[in-house]
């Protein structure tokens, strides 16, 4: 109860701080201290957001970005988990995959965007591919390390209770891996959106990234800010969902 109250007041303080910053910004703009061409006041950004929704055109763009990001996230998680599992269990596969993954991990993977657009066209496929490649490497390492760092005491315990490979997989390996993957789920969500938006930014005809490119080419700072705020809000919502999923799946840790 006390904790809940403390949380509530923390939220109130945060909201107040944000409101103060926005008010200051608005005030500075009103006084003419900054050029609204570069830093439009919050009211102008809010207006731009309202306009986006007013003509309803935004929904198609949101759909494109969300579709690419979520599909890339989903495929990346599944693909990374499978590859991580196989690599951890089969030595030769690990020897083949680990260097490739390590290299992909070391480079900023968004530089692959132009390549995907050449290969897959300016449609949604290239955006999904970019999201996927960002997420799959992250997930691969989470799962691969998760399995290799499994608590051997637990493995031995289950073995002496009579458990075979199937029981070990279900009772020890999968839960350990879930714990690891959940730890990087929020990062994966962020990566998936980065992939989708950057892909759209480079070349596309739809999506928030496309709108961003448009706003940039017309020097529309208010629209740029509005789009940044939109991406921020949607990623925060997904973070919340990821957090809830984490607390549910790892309830043995958080209860």
């Amino acid at each position: 109860m006390k904790q809940k109250q403390a949380m509530f007041w923390l939220q109130v303080r945060r909201a107040t701080a944000l409101a103060v910053v926005l008010l200051l910004w608005e005030g500075i703009s009103a006084l003419g201290w900054v050029d609204p061409f570069y830093a439009p006041p919050p009211s102008a950004i809010g207006g731009a957001i309202a306009e986006l929704f007013a003509d309803g055109e935004i929904y198609g763009h949101l759909e494109a970005t969300f579709g690419a990001a979520l599909l890339g996230l989903f495929l990346g998680l599944i693909g990374g988990a499978l590859l991580g599992f196989i690599a951890a269990l089969l030595r030769p596969v690990a020897e083949l995959l680990e260097p490739v993954m390590a290299m992909l991990n070391a480079i900023p993977r968004v530089i692959l965007a132009p390549l995907f657009i050449i290969w897959l066209g300016i449609g949604i496929a290239s955006k999904v591919a970019l999201s996927f490649i960002l997420v799959v490497v992250l997930t691969f390492f989470a799962v691969y390390n998760g399995i290799r760092d499994v608590d051997t005491r637990l493995v031995e315990r289950v073995k002496t209770l009579g458990g075979g490979s199937w029981t070990l997989l279900r009772e020890v390996y999968v839960p350990s891996v879930v714990a690891w993957v959940m730890g990087s789920l929020k990062v994966a969500v962020g990566f998936a959106f980065t992939g989708a938006v950057v892909g759209e930014f480079v070349a596309s005809s739809r999506g928030l990234g496309y709108l961003l490119a448009f706003a940039q080419s017309t020097y529309n700072a208010a629209l740029t800010f509005a789009l940044i705020v939109l991406v921020l809000v949607f990623v925060m919502i997904l973070f919340g969902l990821a957090g809830a999923l984490e607390r549910y799946l790892l309830r043995w840790k958080y209860r």
């Binding site: 289950v158 209770l161 043995w252």
Partner: protein, 262 residues
């Protein structure tokens, strides 16, 4: 012999930890294994349950592997399973339905005094409570041969006393054969039919055997007033001290001679 260890050698890499170990445990016997820390007692138990292959010699068993229960030195339980499901796991593996397994698990949790804690996760239990969950987990499978690795090492004197008493009760009720590793000489003498001393490692082997022919079941407090208890404990103490003192490297660390730079 229910368990017959002959000429056992156990190694990590090329380094033998145990060598030429002979140890037999007959059905119904309670045998304690003592020895200096790091001499290979846990390793010996691992050989018996087949977690680790001997590098020489063999372990003969007059029963199936699944009839052996091993209580590990640490109390690691599956952190993502409740106390009840941790106990139920072994039963599930042996083919019980989920409902059956959970019912039996709850009965065993009650008999180790944790009836209200079935829904707790391991991290919500104290060390002693986790130990008891581990005991329930092993006993629920009704083993014939029970191997225990310092089962009560981390518990305070009173809890330890009552848990030992309970354990002896189960051993007699279930007619268990026991091989127990312990650091506590008095405990070893009080509960066992025989105490076996492992020497210092590496290449540790059996350095002595003491028969305790006091009738069982025993009263844990009374037995300490017996003459034989005092004599045997003393003898064990001397023998073990001998082993612990053997290492030649026992030296005080040299004081740092380097000048401390300001």
């Amino acid at each position: 012999m229910m368990l017959d260890i002959r000429n056992l050698q156990m190694s990590y890499g090329d380094e033998p930890v145990l060598e030429n170990v002979d140890l037999g445990v007959a059905a119904g016997e309670f045998v304690s294994l003592i020895g200096p820390s790091g001499c290979g007692k846990s390793t010996l138990l691992r050989a018996v349950v087949g977690l680790q292959k001997p590098s020489a010699g063999d372990v003969r068993l007059d029963l199936k592997r699944r009839e052996i229960g091993l209580l590990f030195q640490d109390d690691a339980l599956l952190p993502w399973r409740t106390a009840r499901d941790n106990v139920a796991l072994g039963l599930r593996i042996r083919g019980a339905t989920k409902a059956e397994a959970r019912r039996t698990a709850m009965r065993w949790l009650e008999s180790v005094g944790l009836g209200q804690f079935g829904d707790r996760y391991p991290r919500e239990l104290s060390g002693g409570q986790r130990k008891r969950v581990a005991i329930a987990q092993v006993l629920a499978l009704r083993p014939k041969l029970l191997l225990m690795d310092e089962p009560f090492a981390s518990l305070d004197a009173i809890v330890r006393h009552y848990l030992t008493e309970d354990l002896l009760g189960w051993v007699d009720e279930e007619d268990l054969t026991v091989l127990m590793v312990t650091h506590d000489l008095e405990e070893a003498v009080a509960v066992s039919d025989r105490v076996v001393l492992l020497g210092n490692g590496p290449r540790a082997h059996v350095k002595g055997r003491w028969e305790i022919d006091l009738p069982r079941p025993r009263d844990l407090l009374r037995v300490k007033e017996e003459h034989q208890f005092a004599v045997t404990t003393r003898a064990l103490w001397n023998a073990l001290s001998e082993e612990v003192r053997t290492p030649t490297t026992r030296k005080r660390p040299e004081p740092e001679t380097e000048e401390a730079t300001p």
